[in-house]
C-alpha cells in the first residue's frame, strides 16, 4: 500500500468504492489506508472526524517500516470486522462456531505478525500503537514482550533485551532482602 514516490493529491481518494486516507511517515514516505482501517486508531478517527485529512495526515513519530506494519494490522482487522458484520448469521447455530474460528484465526495472524519482528521493530510498533491509540495492536505487542519476560530471571531478562544493570551489588542485595521481608510478591 505504499504510494508511488512523489505522488501527491487529495487524500480522500476513492479506490474501488472505499474511501482512502493518506498517511505520511516520519521519513517522508506516503502510505494509503482505507478509512475503515483507520477507524481502528482512535487518534486517526478523531482526525478524520475533525475533517483535517485533505492533505494527508503527517505522523512524525512513526517511521515508514513501522507504519507499514500498523496499516497491515488495521486493514486485516477492519476486513475481519466487516466480514463478520455482513456474514448472514441466518444459520444461528453455526455462526457462533464461525465467529469462534474466525477470531482464533485472527489471533493466529496477530501472533504471526508480532513473532516476525525484531526486538527494535517490536518496540517501535508498541510506541506507534500507543501513539495512534490502537488498543488491539498495543495488546498484542505488549503481550509478546511480556511473553519474552515470563519465567526468566533478572539476568536473563537483561540479556534478552540488552539492558544494562544499573543497580550496584549492594543495592541489588538490599532490594532482594527488602522485598522478601516486606511483601514478597
Amino acid at each position: 500500500m505504499a504510494a508511488e514516490k512523489g505522488e501527491k493529491g487529495a487524500a480522500a481518494k476513492e479506490v474501488a468504492g472505499e474511501r482512502m486516507v493518506t498517511l505520511e511517515s516520519s521519513d517522508g514516505e506516503e502510505f494509503h489506508m482505507s478509512e475503515a482501517a483507520a477507524q481502528l486508531s482512535t487518534l486517526l478517527r478523531h482526525v478524520i472526524e475533525g475533517g483535517g485529512i485533505d492533505n494527508g495526515i503527517p505522523l512524525p513519530k512513526v517511521a515508514a517500516r513501522t507504519l507499514e506494519k500498523v496499516i497491515m494490522y488495521c486493514e486485516k482487522h477492519a476486513k475481519a470486522a466487516a466480514k463478520s458484520d455482513s456474514d448472514p448469521s441466518a444459520a444461528a447455530g453455526s455462526s457462533s462456531d464461525n465467529t469462534a474460528a474466525a477470531s482464533e484465526d485472527l489471533e493466529k495472524w496477530d501472533r504471526k505478525l508480532v513473532n516476525g519482528l525484531s526486538q527494535d521493530a517490536l518496540f517501535d510498533l508498541i510506541v506507534a500503537a500507543d501513539y495512534l491509540v490502537i488498543d488491539g495492536l498495543l495488546d498484542a505487542t505488549c503481550r509478546k514482550v511480556a511473553d519474552m519476560m515470563k519465567g526468566k530471571t533478572p539476568d536473563e531478562i537483561r540479556k534478552i533485551f540488552n539492558i544494562l544493570n544499573d543497580f550496584t551489588k549492594e543495592e541489588e542485595e538490599e532490594m532482594r532482602r527488602e522485598y522478601a521481608w516486606a511483601f514478597d510478591d
Partner: protein, 658 residues
C-alpha cells in the same frame, strides 16, 4: 496522558532497544505478566523497570508494618491492600502508615488483624476515599466502635464482619445508615445481632445483593424485613435455629430476586417451608438444604419441578432418600449442575440411575458415605454425565477400578475425585491416569495404594494440585520420586502416617517449588536432612505439620529457620526440639503466625518463656499443653494476648502413638 520518556541504559549492539518504551508502556507490558514471580524478576532488572513496576502495581500483600508508610507511597496505583499477614499490625502503625495520604485503594483485607481497632480503621477510611470493600472477618475483638469507623466509608459496597463478635445491632445500624450503597454483607457469627438490627439494615441498604446471617439468633421477623430487599440475590442462613417454615413463607411473599438460598442446618425448617419459598421465587438457582430436612414431602417435590429451568445446585445432605425421590428430582430438575447427597441414607444404584438419566448436565456429584452404591452407579454416571468434573465418593467401599475405568474413559473433564476410605488399590489409579485434567485426588485410608499407583498418576496427571495419601502406608520414597517426576504443580500434599517414608523421599519432595501445604505426621524415619531439603527446595511452603516426627530435632528445625521464610503455620508437637532450638526457630520464622507445640518434652519452662518472648507479637494462634498455663509468667501471657494471639490449652496425655 503524560508520557515520561525513561531511558533504560542499554549496552551493546545497535538500537536503543527497550529504552524507547516509556514508563507507561513498560507498565502496559508488566500488566500482562500474571505471575508475581515475574514481577519480582522485572523489579530487579534495572532502575527503570523497577520504577515502571512500582508505578503500575495494583495489589500488595504487606508482611511488615515498618515499611508500610513507604510502600503505600511507592505504589501510587495501588487498589488492593492485603494486611491479613502483616505481623503485629496495630492501630498506631496503621494510622501512621496512612496518615495524610490520599490513596486510591479500593479493597482492604484485614482478616484476623486482631491488633487493629477503630482508631486504625478511622484513619484508613479517611485516607482511602475510594474504599469499596473491607474484610474484617475473624477480628473477634471488633465491635460497634469498629463498625462505626467503617460506617464513615460512604462508598462501601462490600463488607465482611464474620466473627466480629462484639458487633451488635447498634454497630450494624451505624453501618446501615452510613453505607447505603452496600451490596454484599456478611455478619456470620455476630450473635449479638437481632431482628431489630436486620430490620434497620433492610430499610437502609436497598442495594443489598448478598447477605449472610448464618449462625445468628435472628427469627422470622428478620426474614420479613429481608423480604423487602428487592435486589437480594443471595441469602445464607446456615444454622439459624430460630427460623422456621413461617419465616420462609414471609420471605416468599417478598419481591426480591433470590437466586441462592442456604438453609443448611436450620433445625426448624421443613420441606413445607421450602415449598412455600420456592413458590414465591421460581427463579431459584441454588438451594442448599443440607442437614436440616428429615423428610421430603410431595408439596416440595412438585414445587421443585417448577424450578426446572433455573435450578442448578441442590444440596440435600443428611436426608433419608428413596429411589422415587431421586427419580422425582431427576425429572423435575434436569438442568442440575451440582447435587449434594452426602451422608444421605438410601442412595442406591437404582436411585442414581433415575437421577442421572435426566440430569446430563451434572458436573459435581457428592455421594460421600452413600455406601450402597456400586460400579453400576459409576457406569450410569459415566454414560449420562459426560461433563462431570467433581466426584465425591468417600466411603463408597463397593466401587473399584472397573467403575473408575468407565468414568475415566467417558468423562475427560474430571478435575476432582475423592476416594477416601473406598478401599481402592493401584489398579484403580491406572484408569484415573487417563484424566489429564485431574487437579484434586484424595486417597486417604486406602492402604493398598503403593508406589505403582503413584507412578500411574504421575505419568499423565501433570496438572495435579492436591494429593491426599493419609495413611496410605505402603507408599515409599520411590513412590514420591515417581510422583514429583510428573506432578510438578502440587500445592497440597498429605503424607501423614506413611511411615515408610525416609529422608530420601523428602529430598525428592524438595523439587516441588509450588508446594504450599505439607502434612508429615508420624513419619518416624525423617530427620533434619529431609527437612532441610524441603525447606530449601519448597520455596512456597506456608504450612508444615510435623507432629509425632520423633526423629526431628534442633538440627532439623534449624534448616526451617534458615530457609522456610514463608512459613505461616507449623506443628512441631512431640518433636525433639530443645529450648534453644525452639527459640532460634521462633525468632527466625518471620512470617509464622500459627504454631502448635504440645509436648515438647525437651523444652524447659525458661525455654518456652524465651522462645515466646522472641516472637514479638507476631503469633496469632498458639497451642500448648495446659500444664504450662500455670507456670508461664502471667505478663508473657498477657503480652501475647494483647498482641492478638489466641492461646489454646490442651490436655493431651504423653503417649507414643502411631
Amino acid at each position: 496522558m503524560s508520557r515520561e520518556g525513561q531511558r533504560l541504559g542499554c549496552g551493546g549492539a545497535g538500537g536503543i532497544g527497550i529504552g524507547v518504551l516509556s514508563l507507561d508502556m513498560l507498565g502496559q507490558v508488566l500488566d500482562r505478566l500474571r505471575e508475581p514471580r515475574d514481577h519480582k524478576a522485572c523489579r530487579l532488572v534495572s532502575h527503570a523497570l523497577e520504577r515502571a513496576e512500582a508505578a503500575h502495581r495494583r495489589a500488595l500483600r504487606a508482611l511488615r508494618r515498618e515499611p508500610l508508610p513507604r510502600l503505600l507511597r511507592a505504589f501510587p496505583a495501588l487498589e488492593q491492600l492485603d494486611l491479613s499477614a502483616c505481623a503485629s499490625l496495630d492501630d498506631a502503625s496503621l494510622a501512621a502508615a496512612v496518615a495524610g495520604a490520599d490513596l486510591g485503594i479500593r479493597r482492604v483485607c484485614l482478616a484476623r488483624a486482631s491488633g487493629v481497632g477503630w482508631r486504625g480503621l478511622e484513619a484508613l477510611v479517611a485516607a482511602c476515599p475510594r474504599l469499596e470493600a473491607v474484610d474484617l472477618s475473624h477480628c473477634v475483638g471488633a465491635g460497634d466502635r469498629e463498625a462505626a469507623a467503617l460506617a464513615a466509608a460512604a462508598g462501601l459496597r462490600e463488607l465482611r464482619l464474620d466473627k466480629c463478635l462484639g458487633v451488635t445491632d447498634m454497630g450494624l445500624a451505624k453501618v446501615a445508615v452510613g453505607c447505603p450503597r452496600l451490596e454484599k454483607l456478611s455478619v456470620k457469627w455476630c450473635r449479638e445481632i437481632s431482628d431489630i438490627g436486620v430490620d434497620l439494615l433492610a430499610k437502609k441498604c436497598r442495594e443489598l445483593r448478598s447477605l449472610d446471617i448464618s449462625y445468628l439468633q435472628v427469627g422470622n421477623g428478620s426474614l420479613k424485613s429481608i423480604s423487602y430487599l428487592g435486589k437480594l440475590e443471595e441469602l445464607a442462613m446456615v444454622a439459624c435455629s430460630c427460623i422456621d417454615d413461617e419465616g420462609l413463607e414471609l420471605l416468599s411473599k417478598g419481591s426480591n430476586s433470590l437466586q441462592t438460598v442456604d438453609v443448611s442446618r436450620c433445625d426448624h425448617v421443613t420441606s413445607q417451608g421450602l415449598a412455600s419459598l420456592i413458590h414465591g421465587h421460581n427463579f431459584l438457582q441454588k438451594l442448599h438444604a443440607a442437614d436440616c430436612l428429615h423428610e421430603i414431602g410431595q408439596c416440595f417435590l412438585s414445587k421443585l419441578a417448577t424450578l426446572k429451568e433455573t435450578l442448578t445446585v441442590l444440596k440435600l445432605d443428611g436426608l433419608e432418600v428413596s429411589v422415587s425421590l431421586l427419580e422425582a428430582i431427576g425429572e423435575g430438575c434436569d438442568n442440575l449442575v451440582e447435587i449434594g447427597l452426602s451422608k444421605c441414607s438410601g442412595v442406591t444404584d437404582e436411585g442414581i440411575s433415575s437421577l442421572v438419566a435426566r440430569c446430563s448436565h451434572l458436573r459435581t456429584i457428592d455421594l460421600t458415605c452413600c455406601n450402597l452404591i456400586t460400579n453400576n452407579a459409576l457406569d450410569l454416571i459415566a454414560d449420562n454425565c459426560k461433563m462431570v468434573e467433581c466426584l465425591r465418593l468417600e466411603s463408597c467401599s463397593l466401587i473399584n477400578e472397573k467403575g473408575l475405568d468407565w468414568i475415566a474413559t467417558c468423562c475427560p473433564n474430571l478435575k476432582e475425585i475423592d476416594l477416601t476410605d473406598c478401599g481402592v488399590n493401584d489398579a484403580a489409579l491406572q484408569p484415573l491416569a487417563k484424566c489429564s485434567e485431574l487437579l484434586i485426588l484424595k486417597l486417604g485410608l486406602c492402604s493398598s495404594i503403593s508406589d505403582k499407583g503413584l507412578a500411574f498418576i504421575s505419568s499423565n496427571c501433570g496438572k495435579l494440585v492436591e494429593l491426599d495419601l493419609y495413611r496410605c502406608n505402603s507408599v515409599t520414597d520411590d513412590g514420591l520420586a515417581a510422583l514429583v517426576n510428573g506432578c510438578k504443580k502440587i500445592k497440597l500434599l498429605n503424607l501423614c502416617y506413611c511411615n515408610k517414608i525416609t529422608d530420601g523421599g523428602l529430598i525428592h519432595l524438595g523439587s516441588l517449588e509450588e508446594l504450599t501445604n505439607l502434612e508429615l505426621r508420624c513419619l518416624a524415619r525423617i530427620t533434619g536432612i529431609g527437612i532441610s531439603s524441603i525447606a530449601i527446595g519448597c520455596k512456597s511452603l506456608i504450612e508444615l505439620d510435623l507432629k509425632h516426627c520423633y526423629s526431628v530435632d534442633d538440627a532439623g528445625l534449624w534448616a526451617l529457620a534458615r530457609y522456610a521464610l514463608n512459613l505461616r503455620q507449623l506443628t512441631i508437637s512431640y518433636c525433639q526440639v530443645t529450648g534453644l532450638g525452639l527459640c532460634h526457630l521462633l525468632s527466625s520464622l518471620r512470617s509464622l503466625q500459627d504454631i502448635k507445640m504440645v509436648h515438647l518434652s525437651w523444652v524447659s519452662i525458661e525455654g518456652f518463656e524465651m522462645a515466646l518472648r522472641v516472637t514479638c507479637g507476631r503469633l496469632k494462634k498458639l497451642k500448648m499443653l495446659s500444664g504450662l498455663k500455670t507456670v508461664l509468667s502471667p505478663e508473657l501471657l498477657q503480652m501475647l494476648q494483647s498482641c492478638g494471639c489466641r492461646i489454646r490449652w490442651v490436655n493431651k496425655p504423653l503417649v507414643y502413638k502411631d
